[in-house]
Symmetry: none
Subunit: 93 residues, 2 copies
């Protein structure tokens, strides 16, 4: 039925919470789908935003989401939470 209905392909992503204490692997076919699954698996209830963990870029559109590679690490933030740089930021080799 996957083939018959040609459903969008699920891709693997990784999502952490605001302080990077929890990180989970999540399959998703799009931004809204990932947001739904993240709220469930990271136990986030309020409105959630998804950012690139590496530089805090907020992802708001499906079009941009489709350009990020498999296994991209996102950070999921609830209202009031802020992105902070990774600890080794600025020391990339």
């Amino acid at each position: 039925s996957q083939l018959l209905h040609s459903s969008p392909q699920q891709r693997p992503f990784r999502v952490c919470n605001w302080d990077r204490s929890l990180k989970k692997g999540v399959m998703a076919e799009g931004l809204q789908n990932l947001l739904d699954k993240v709220q469930e698996s990271l136990h986030i209830t309020s409105s959630t935003s998804l950012l690139l963990e590496e530089d805090g870029t907020v992802i708001e559109t499906e079009e941009f989401f489709q350009t990020v590679p498999d296994n991209t690490l996102f950070m999921a933030l609830e209202k009031g939470q802020k992105w902070t740089p990774p600890e080794n930021s600025g020391f990339h080799l």
Copy 2:
């Protein structure tokens, strides 16, 4: 219909505000298109200029814009705002 109309290709970019407190992923097919979308997504109303975040280069022509790679990080400035160097500037290896 994408093919029939051969619409210009949208590319991914990242745009931050003057103090780098907000950064968003934006798809755009050109400089003017990116400016339009940035005003919406960063809630900028007045006249906007786009600079390369890394060194403050002002981008004013579509021709130059077409030469920057996907996912280039821009800074969007309103009238009166100034570019400042990134904090970890000088520590890149």
